[in-house]
């Protein structure tokens, strides 16, 4: 029992359950999933669909944060990828041409990769602090997205493109399949190879890792490129879902939600140990929260307020200092924490 409570995903899981139960309380048919026209319908499916882009962005963010970095530019990349894809598709003679759409998608993802390379280059080669390095693209990227769309909202009418964000495959939303697929592949690569260990090592202590012979430059480049790619895919999903690209507003503040999802998932912003499953859980919690606010009947105006409260509660629940104060009242099992850790003050 104690082991379960100690598990890093215990509290996030509890919160998710509480949110889901709250939903059932207000809407009896919450867990009802229907099969209609070869598709699954239901609130739970809606949550999953909404979580897909956020989950992807947060997935890329997890690895970046594991190396002790952060990527603030993902929101801008989301906008840029969507903008470029829609621009290309809007220029097609036949917007329903599969090859044309695939080309546009490929191009958008290539650009996302390139933007990831830029971030990775600044962090790994030039040696700029990640929060600053990615701030550059965060600021300039929105301008680039608007440059691509020429400040307009590009609307398209392409059924193949629509598939990415709103389509179904085997009865399941395609975007969920894509997101889960990417997460599973990433998880396998990271944990079956030594990549995960090396990333955690670099994030835990960069200089020690260098002296242990780890060439962190490539690893760091890889994670930023991956974050860019994930953001690019998410950008396609978001723009596909609404069949339009808005350079100004697409993916606005998604970087903050993504970071939040990572933190909720138990990965420390300081780097080191990370949990992909935790991040996905975090993304689902955030989106469930959105839906919960809706079903409970809280006016949408208060959504942000509610979110602020949840952020605070979650972060406090995970903060060692808070737990310590909370646990001191009960004789707890000996924690595996070194004494000297207590005086250390996080910067």
């Amino acid at each position: 029992m104690a082991a379960i409570i100690k598990h890093r995903l215990f509290w996030p899981a509890v919160i998710l359950v509480v949110l889901l139960v709250t939903n059932v309380f207000f809407s009896g048919s919450f867990f009802k999933v229907e099969f209609r026209d070869g598709h699954l319908y239901g609130s739970v499916i809606d949550i999953l669909r909404a979580s897909a882009p956020l989950g992807l962005v947060a997935l890329g963010m997890t690895l970046v944060i594991a190396t002790g970095g952060i990527d603030l530019s993902v929101g801008a990349v989301v906008a840029i990828a969507g903008a470029l894809a829609c621009l290309r598709i809007s220029g097609l003679d036949d917007q329903n041409s599969v090859t044309g759409v695939l080309l546009a998608v490929g191009l958008a993802l290539l650009l996302s990769l390139a933007l990831g390379v830029w971030n990775g280059f600044l962090v790994a080669t030039v040696g700029i602090q990640p929060i600053i390095a990615t701030l550059i693209l965060m600021v300039a990227g929105r301008g680039l997205a608007q440059l691509i769309t020429d400040g307009q909202i590009i609307t398209i009418n392409s059924s193949p493109y629509k598939m990415i964000g709103a389509g179904y495959w085997l009865g399941l939303p395609l975007c969920v399949i894509i997101a889960v697929g990417v997460a599973v592949v990433a998880g396998l690569i990271v944990r079956r190879s030594a990549l995960g260990l090396l990333l955690e090592s670099v994030g835990g202590n960069a200089e020690a890792s260098r002296l242990a012979g780890i060439k962190s430059r490539w690893l760091i480049l890889i994670v930023y490129v991956f974050a860019g790619l994930c953001a690019g895919i998410a950008g396609l999903m978001i723009s596909s879902n609404v069949s339009s690209a808005d350079g100004n507003n697409a993916g606005l503040l998604i970087e903050l939600d993504a970071i939040l999802a990572v933190v909720i998932g138990g990965t420390s912003l300081a780097g080191g140990r990370f949990s992909i499953a935790g991040t996905i859980l975090g993304a689902v919690i955030i989106k469930t929260l959105d839906i919960t606010i809706y079903t409970v009947g809280i006016p949408p105006e208060v959504t942000l307020l509610f979110k602020a409260v949840v952020v605070v509660v979650l972060c406090l629940a995970q903060a060692p200092k808070f737990r310590e104060k909370f646990q001191r009242r009960r004789p707890s099992a000996p924690a595996t924490q070194a004494p000297q850790q207590k005086v250390e003050v996080t910067a």
Binding site: I128, I136, I259, L260, T303, V312, C315
Partner: protein
């Protein structure tokens, strides 16, 4: 005799210290930008153009002062834009409810201070990263805006309109009250940083928080203080914004935290803390303002170029800081 002269010379014409280089670079950039503007566009040389930059960016300057305090400790405050918006909202709604603007003023400043105080306390007492704590503050403040109203509220108050429109004239030029207020805030801020214990503690914490703690400095109090100061500055910035927009709206100052951070960084303050000057932030705000002015003068350039140019400048300054840091170590 010659030695005295040499030592005097050394004193006066000392080579710029490493930590001054970024600020000097910003100053140089500002001069080049201004010079280019004067050469390229007719009417650019009018001093009023420079004053207009101040008039249009007074609120950003005030917010930037708070942000500089926070960044000097090595922290960050993402909530400033939201607090600015909340201030305009509370201001507008209370004025609509019949309050005098003068009576509202302390209320909004108090709200800003309280939000900052709360964030600072969470950061200090529970070791939550500033990034996350102020993110929550941002959600909270924006959320409160929508609780008050989802619509924009006009500020219809004779006193306020006259204050907002009042032009302080001198020698054919004019500035607004917001410029005066902003400059006073800058001067007070610079004094606090250079000549008070609070200011020096801020630098110390930014340099090495662990050391500051062991040297017996009031680390917690100082950290809470900077977020409170930033909250007050944001609230004051919001008040100045109402001069400018005459309305309260939950979508005001969207993304302003980025502008403020950009101004601070372009002004030569290091994001990891411990090094930088308030004067640099003034220059940083001027650079941002001048970019907008130039783009307006250019006419054919679209507004999104502002963001791209700011991004490019951020890049240039960050690389410069990096080079300076390398040479120092």
């Amino acid at each position: 005799m010659s030695t005295t002269f040499e030592s005097l010379q050394k004193r006066v014409i000392r080579r710029p210290q490493q930590r001054h280089i970024p600020v000097l670079a910003t100053l140089a950039l500002l001069c080049v930008m201004y010079g280019a503007g004067v050469v390229r566009y007719t009417g650019f040389s009018d001093t009023q153009i420079v004053l207009n930059v101040f008039i249009d960016n007074g609120f950003l300057l005030v917010v930037g002062v708070g942000m500089t305090f926070v960044i000097l400790t090595g922290g960050i405050d993402l909530s400033v834009g939201a607090v600015v918006a909340l201030t305009t909202m509370i201001f507008a709604s209370l004025v609509r409810a019949g309050w005098s603007p003068i009576a509202v003023l302390p209320v909004v400043l108090l709200v800003g201070a309280l939000i900052g105080l709360a964030m600072g306390s969470i950061i200090h007492f529970f070791d939550i990263q500033p990034f996350i704590a102020t993110l929550a503050g941002m959600f909270l403040a924006r959320g409160l805006c929508y609780v008050i109203s989802t619509e924009a509220i006009r500020i219809d108050n004779a006193l306020w309109t006259s204050l907002a429109d009042y032009k302080i004239r001198f020698g054919g030029f004019h500035i607004s009250w917001s410029v005066v207020i902003a400059l006073v805030v800058v001067l007070v801020g610079a004094y606090v940083l250079a000549y008070t214990r609070l200011g020096r503690n801020i630098y110390a914490i930014g340099g090495n928080q662990q050391s500051a703690l062991l040297m017996g400095l009031p680390v917690g109090r100082t950290k809470i203080a900077v977020y409170t100061i930033s909250g007050v500055c944001s609230a004051l910035g919001g008040v100045l914004l109402t001069f400018y927009t005459s309305s309260g709206y939950g979508l005001h100052a969207l993304g302003m935290e980025l502008d403020a951070i950009a101004a601070v960084v372009i002004g030569g303050t290091v994001l990891t803390g411990g090094s930088g000057f308030l004067f640099g932030t003034v220059l940083g705000v001027l650079v941002l303002g001048l970019i907008q002015t130039i783009i307006t003068f250019e006419g054919t350039l679209s507004s999104w170029w502002t963001k791209i140019v700011i991004g490019a400048l951020l890049f240039a300054f960050i690389v410069l800081q990096r080079a300076v840091a390398r040479r120092t170590s």
